[in-house]
């Protein structure tokens, strides 16, 4: 329908960060017809076409758009918490150009028609690329595998039961074995369910607050077992969030043994610890629970080491009625699309990672894992880009989030870094 061809766009005098080439240096990007047509120091105001819109970046970062591989949306079924449109607005404001959506909707995304509905949703109100994950089991009930082949063909980029672990060893075994035919990626929630009925991390604070709790061993047990299932079946398994030192140790060993295992993490687990629960703060009620400080430090070390493959937001919108409750009755989850970049940049500002490494974890590596385009600044690549100021100090303000839900544990959190512009397919979808 867009009959008016978009003007070329030239981002000039920027600090280019391309994790694919490992490049961090000055330059510009020229965009036309939805693609990058020139990248490098030669892109300047003088060389840009006369019709182009010139954006003077003044040393701000231009990087590939973020690929967020863990986004819960409310559509269909929970549109009061988030729609695809509102999630895409939040994504655009957060510099995220592709969201990988979770199947935990109502009905669950376990059928070809629902995968197609999400994968093919396009329109002026959907500002970013949407790549759906499908359920690993029918109705997410952990019993029968979904149509992995047909769902892959329909556009499902991976298979997961989302918040639920695929607990039954036989079911996981069959999914991984069958899924190999299609090179399917299975994404696992790594918490042994029978040990995960609590509402926060086991330890002194849970004991003081009188809250039921999960041992960190719940994560270790699930991961150790699953590693053996991968060893037996050869299927690709990704642990969505690994949050404990012990579990990271066994993943390190499994990777060293050459098993097709990957893992991710979301910002709360490297930026916060269980003390964020404080005096029953339900916005800090997450699954898995926020952990002890030594586990948080282990996550940071694993990011430095390269053991953790991707950082995702884990965006999980909840309306006030789901959170303004006694702690045990409140829903799990936190929004994260708009805090993903600034909180991840703490790893750079604190000296744990280079800026290139942070961007790599947010762009190239998730693109590689989920077989998505993106994660590079290169001629002919889709023009999915983010422009951000890496240094500016910003205090996160929940009320200013674009997401329909405001449940962030980072409200009031001081950060450095702010998205100035987000470009998806050559279209400017957000400008600060």
């Amino acid at each position: 329908m867009s009959s008016v061809p978009a003007r070329p766009l030239a981002l000039i005098n920027a600090r280019l960060i391309d994790p694919t080439l490992g490049y961090d240096g000055p330059g510009g990007v020229l965009i036309a017809d939805g693609r990058m047509v020139a990248v490098g120091p030669q892109v300047t105001a003088a060389t840009a076409p006369a019709t182009a819109r010139i954006v003077e970046c003044a040393g701000k970062v231009v990087a590939p758009g973020l690929i967020d591989s863990r986004v819960f949306i409310g559509e269909p079924g929970f549109e009061h918490k988030e729609t695809l449109a509102s999630a895409s607005q939040a994504a655009a404001a957060g510099g995220v150009t592709t969201i990988v959506t979770m199947p935990n909707t109502k009905p669950a995304v376990d059928s070809v028609s629902l995968v197609e509905y999400i994968a093919r949703r396009r329109g002026d109100d959907i500002l970013v690329n949407v790549a759906p994950m499908a359920a690993a089991t029918k109705n997410l009930d952990g019993q029968e595998m979904t149509e992995i082949g047909l769902l892959s063909a329909a556009g499902a980029v991976a298979f997961t039961d989302g918040h639920n672990a695929v607990a039954n060893a036989n079911v996981l075994w069959k999914i991984l074995r069958y899924g190999r035919m299609f090179d399917a990626l299975v994404v696992q929630h790594a918490e042994e369910p029978s040990l995960s009925k609590g509402v926060m991390n086991a330890g002194e604070l849970a004991t003081r607050l009188g809250l039921s709790s999960n041992s960190p061993y719940a994560e270790l047990l699930q991961i150790e077992r699953d590693i053996r299932v991968v060893e037996a079946t050869g299927g690709r398994l990704h642990f969505a969030q690994v949050t404990t030192a012990k579990a990271l140790d066994v993943i390190r060993a499994a990777k060293a043994a050459g098993l097709p295992i990957t893992c991710g993490v979301t910002p709360p687990y490297f930026a916060l610890n269980e003390l964020a629960v404080g005096d029953y703060r339900t916005f800090a009620k997450l699954s898995p629970p926020l952990r002890a400080e030594q586990d948080r430090l282990a996550v940071v070390a694993a990011l430095q080491e390269g053991l953790i493959d991707v950082i995702a937001s884990g965006h999980d919108p909840q309306d006030p009625e789901s959170k303004r409750l006694p702690f045990a009755q409140a829903e799990f989850g936190a929004v994260g699309l708009e805090t993903l970049l600034p909180v991840s940049l703490e790893l750079y500002h604190n000296g744990h990672l280079s800026l290139l490494q942070v961007i790599d974890l947010l762009t190239r590596r998730p693109a590689h894992l989920f077989r998505l385009p993106g994660g590079r600044l290169a001629v002919d690549a889709p023009a999915d880009l983010v422009v951000f100021d890496v240094d500016v100090a910003v205090r996160i303000d929940a009320d200013k989030l674009k997401s329909k839900s405001k449940n962030t544990p980072f409200d009031g959190h001081p950060t450095q870094g702010q998205v100035m512009m987000t470009v998806v397919g050559g279209r400017v979808v957000y400008e600060a």
């Binding site: 086991a202 330890g203 002194e204 849970a206 004991t207 003081r208 607050l209 009188g210 809250l211 709790s213 041992s215 005096d279 029953y280 009625e321 303004r324 409750l325 006694p326 702690f327 045990a328 009755q329």
Partner: protein
């Protein structure tokens, strides 16, 4: 100007200023838990409560201290003893008491805890006494109301007036709390009474032991400043106080314990185990007791050892003290305004 009309001219004879000198007092708006209170505040509450014990033993038990004030007993979990104790405490201080028993079914009808809080707040209660099955629920409610809130038990978190009444019982029997050895025995994991008592007793300088099987202990409980024992005889050795906890029926079978019989064998208080404690050790229980589960009937009824009846008596006095202390600010304001009018 108008401020000159002070308490001197007031017709109310009630003494407002706390006894015991400058700087002593209790200046929190609510009583949500023991954790965070300091020894002076706890000691002060116990002193006030002590004075009410004597009043309660007279034929005329009633004072008009809280005349005109409204107390709502808001219980989201069934209770007879605690609710009655608060009701008596309120009535003996002269305030109007309303009981609201709201079980879980009415929550399912759609009204949330905060809706209930806002609704009740519009009726201007001066004191809300709240019990709820979820930890932290009473604090959540306290953020939405103008009156003062007393936690009458929230989930497994705290039951501060129980700990205060236990402390008063101990202090009256033993003359002190500091330096005593107290064993708290049974289901520590699910017990708000245990948590409040641990906070209070450690704050007041007692040595606290917890005696329980590992499945009934919360994680890192030693970080609360207690010694952990699984063997009850060893746990009771040379104790001054043996504090038993009620074992909830639903915990007795299956995942926490193999059977009632096995629990009583290892953790039921009988004379054999009690013989490890000091000869004059005091036996306490928050009630209601499961005779033959956590406590042997003979032991429970031993009038020389058991303080269980006395705990109930102290409960009313302690709750009167809490009502008195928490409403002081509101009563002072009222007096000033009344005097100015």
């Amino acid at each position: 100007m108008a401020l000159m009309a002070s308490t001197h001219g007031s017709p109310t004879p009630a003494p407002i200023s706390p006894p015991g000198g400058e700087g002593r007092g209790f200046f929190h708006k609510h009583l949500l838990g023991i954790e965070g209170l300091n020894p002076l505040e706890i000691g002060y509450l116990l002193d006030i409560a002590d004075s009410y014990v004597e009043q309660n033993r007279r034929a005329n038990k009633k004072k008009s201290l809280l005349k005109g004030m409204t107390l709502i007993n808001l219980f989201f979990e069934t209770s007879t003893r605690t609710r009655t104790s608060f009701e008596l405490a309120g009535k003996r201080l002269g305030c109007d008491v309303i009981n609201m028993q709201t079980d879980a079914s009415s929550i399912k009808k759609g009204e949330t805890l905060l809706d209930t809080a806002i609704t009740l707040n519009a009726m201007h209660p001066d004191i809300l006494v709240v019990r709820h099955s979820e930890s932290g629920a009473v604090k959540l409610l306290s953020e939405k109301v103008d009156g003062c809130v007393i936690n009458a038990g929230d989930g497994r978190h705290e039951h501060p007036t129980q700990a205060l009444l236990d402390a008063l019982t101990i202090r009256r029997r033993k003359g002190r709390i500091e330096g005593l050895t107290v064993a708290i025995c049974g289901d520590i994991l699910h017990s708000r009474v245990a948590r409040s008592n641990i906070h209070l007793l450690t704050t007041m300088g007692a040595r606290v032991r917890v005696v329980a099987p590992p499945t009934l202990l919360p994680a890192a409980v030693e970080r609360l400043g207690v010694e952990v024992f699984h063997d009850m005889r060893r746990g009771l050795e040379n104790c001054d106080i043996v504090m038993m906890l009620r074992l909830q029926q639903e915990r007795m079978r299956g995942s926490y314990l193999p059977s009632v019989r096995e629990f009583f064998h290892f953790y039921g208080l009988d004379h054999a185990k009690l013989s490890a404690a000091k000869p004059d050790a005091l036996i306490m229980h928050p009630g209601p007791m499961n005779r033959g589960v956590e406590i042997d009937t003979v032991v429970a009824d031993d009038i020389h050892r058991s303080a269980i009846q006395e705990q109930v008596e102290m409960g009313v006095a302690v709750r009167m003290a809490c009502l008195d202390v928490l409403t002081r600010k509101a009563r002072e304001t009222e007096l000033k305004n009344g005097g100015a009018a």
